[in-house]
């Protein structure tokens, strides 16, 4: 756990430097949340590095001259990291389609760092259309060609299949970790599992998979006792991540967080992606047909808010904690539709607002405690 905590707190990405010492010609590619097919980065022998802003650890004084203040903190702090050369170890950046701010940030990025490799990946939003899969394949191929040129190493079908398999294993380990929390929440706190997953942001995939497997085994051996707590689901923190102390404050206020969308991009698919056929088609089809309900891509077929009440009850949760980043528009729009369906289904919820650079959690603790009391005090 100590290792995980340090690697997350280290915004200068020293872990990437150590990886590069082990891979002399190796390149590292930064991926902005929420979902990027990092298999493509691994397939060209590069290290995918997830960028989750700088939390409260740095002051914003350069980014202000490029970006307004009424935008989320993750975009401002990531730009600050770039402008203060703290991301020097990264050789390129991939911005996926999340929202207008992230999309425009890719433009600000390529203007301020003209020599760096910057790619904006347009993930298909009309996933009901027959043309969505071919388009996704074309986008993935365009990205892959760019990455190959950058690393000077084309990706063979075998490289792609190996990358898919190592990602499948990583996602399986992540699902196992979250299953411990879902079935026996007293054995593994949400902030602990968050740290374990987040450590993977700067780690090689297979190393992270082994790291998670050890953690799952260790968690199962713990002898902790179950406490009288409210079982909840946490929704809305899929891109800008809340401070770890905020997650702890929610748990200490009397909650077991069975399910959440923290670090959603690291575990985007529940089912493994087939590694036998054409790898790009497999990745594209997975994105178009299996992506989870999320605020960053238009849902396929049904409306995602209709499925929410049933999925809450299925895992035995009693309430929902909406935990949205200040100024995060996609999360705030969806929260209204979700709350409509929760009210109709009689499932209680509370909405708290956070910023990655928050240092005071009194109001959050009071709100969640009140929420727990309003349910436990029947």
């Amino acid at each position: 756990m100590a290792f995980a905590r340090e690697s997350v707190a280290d915004t200068s990405l020293s872990a990437v430097r150590t990886w590069k010492e082990g891979h002399p010609a190796g390149k590292a590619i930064g991926a902005f949340p929420v979902y990027v097919p990092t298999e493509l980065i691994q397939a060209v022998g590069a290290l995918p590095v997830w960028l989750f802003g700088a939390g409260g650890s740095i002051d914003i004084s350069h980014a202000d001259s490029r970006i307004q203040s009424f935008v989320c903190s993750i975009s401002r702090s990531t730009l600050e990291l770039g402008l203060t050369a703290r991301l020097g170890t990264l050789d390129g950046f991939v911005f996926p389609s999340i929202c207008d701010v992230a999309r425009n940030l890719s433009g600000v990025w390529s203007r301020n760092f003209p020599e760096t490799f910057v790619e904006f990946l347009h993930l298909p939003q009309n996933r009901d259309s027959a043309s969505a899969v071919p388009y996704a394949i074309a986008e993935y191929r365009r990205l892959l060609n760019g990455l190959s040129r950058l690393t000077g190493r084309p990706a063979s079908e075998a490289d792609l299949r190996a990358a898919i398999e190592s990602h499948n294993a990583n996602r399986r380990a992540a699902q196992d970790l979250l299953a411990v929390r879902r079935e026996t929440p007293w054995l593994l706190d949400a902030w602990e599992s968050y740290l374990l997953l987040r450590a993977g942001a700067t780690m090689d995939r297979d190393a992270h998979t082994q790291f998670l497997r050890n953690a799952v085994a260790a968690a199962r051996r713990r002898g902790r006792k179950e406490k009288d707590r409210l079982r909840v689901v946490l929704l809305g923190a899929f891109c800008e991540q809340p401070p770890i102390d905020l997650i702890r404050a929610i748990e200490e206020a009397g909650c077991y967080v069975l399910e959440d969308d923290l670090l959603l991009g690291l575990r985007w698919f529940r089912e493994p992606i087939p590694a036998d056929g054409d790898p790009l088609r497999a990745l594209a089809e997975a994105y178009v047909t299996q992506s989870p309900a999320s605020s960053v891509s238009h849902y396929r077929g049904r409306r995602k808010q209709d499925d929410l009440p049933a999925s809450i009850r299925a895992i035995g949760a009693t309430g929902v904690v909406f935990c949205t980043a200040k100024f995060c528009e996609p999360a705030l729009y969806d929260q209204v539709l979700y709350k409509e369906r929760l009210e109709a289904a009689g499932i209680p919820y509370v909405h708290i607002e956070f910023e990655e650079k928050m240092s005071v959690f009194e109001t959050v603790r009071t709100q969640v405690e009140t929420f727990v009391e309003s349910i436990l005090f029947e």
């Binding site: 914003i60 004084s61 009424f70």
Partner: protein, 273 residues
């Protein structure tokens, strides 16, 4: 016959008047809180300045008003914004000035100036970071100290806190929570000064920071603020006991130009007032 001109800078918190003689030497200055009535505050300061300069009101040939209350100055001939006045005044005090920062009651201003004190570019804070000058008064109130004490006390900080918030109102609730958790006053105050310095420097970056940097306006009297700015910038910052009068000095210099026959460049007085 010696000609006199005046500049009146009626800010949201303090009102200042400066009288210059024909050669542009400062004949007198006066300063006091703006309070609830701008017209009274302007007239009182103007009277004080005239008496200090031992001259008669009609000897003042031209008066330029600036600051938030500039349109309400009864004795003003014309109005010029505080951007132009701060540039001109800062150049008067420190001819090497190229970048000016003024942390005012309502707005924080960063101004780029050329070798003649003309404005090359300027930028004012965006909405979320408004009211920084006023905020320091509120911070002093929140910790039960006077505005003049918080600067020196902040210098005694051992481990300054990081206060990361943009919005001044929210920073205040952050101060209360730190105090409730028993943090030392000087550490909290140093955190506040640093937060304001970082934000002001971010604004200065928009116009570009070229030495010499001159810190103008009332807040420049706060040594804690000067230290914080110099600490974050890594370079010296020009401050003078007259820094608080820079707006009024600039206005008086424009009045002098106008008295010497320069054509007007600003809008005719506001019709609606």
């Amino acid at each position: 016959m010696n000609v006199y001109v005046a500049g009146a800078d009626i800010g949201s918190t303090t009102a200042k008047v400066v009288i210059l003689d024909g050669e542009g030497k400062i004949a007198a200055t006066s300063l006091g809180p703006t309070g609830a009535s701008i017209v009274e505050a302007a007239q009182r300061r103007f009277k004080e300045a005239i008496e200090a300069a031992k001259i008669d009101e009609h000897e003042v040939e031209f008066v330029v008003g600036t600051g938030y209350g500039r349109f309400k100055i009864p004795f003003g001939h014309t109005q010029i914004t505080e951007i132009s006045c701060h540039a001109k005044g800062a150049h008067y005090l420190f001819p090497g000035t190229r970048t000016i920062v003024d942390i005012g009651g309502q707005d924080t201003k960063a101004i780029g100036a050329d070798e003649r004190g003309e404005v090359t570019d300027f930028c004012m804070n965006d909405k979320c970071a408004a009211g920084t000058g006023r905020f320091l008064d509120n911070a002093a109130l929140a910790v039960g100290l006077s505005i003049d004490e918080i600067g020196p006390i902040s210098l005694k900080a051992a481990k300054p806190l990081r206060i990361t918030n943009v919005c001044t109102v929210f920073v205040e609730s952050e101060i209360m929570s730190h105090m409730a958790r028993g943090e030392k006053i000087e550490d909290v105050l140093r955190g506040v000064h640093n937060a304001i310095a970082i934000r002001s420097i971010a604004l200065m970056r928009r116009v570009g920071i070229t030495p010499e940097v001159t810190f103008t306006g009332g807040v420049s009297r706060n040594v804690g603020m000067v230290q914080a700015l110099e600490g974050q910038l890594g370079t010296k910052v020009n401050v003078s006991p007259l820094s608080q009068y820079v707006g009024a000095i600039g206005a008086a210099l424009y009045a002098l130009e106008r008295a010497r026959g320069a054509p007007p460049t600003e809008l005719v007085a506001e019709a609606s007032g």
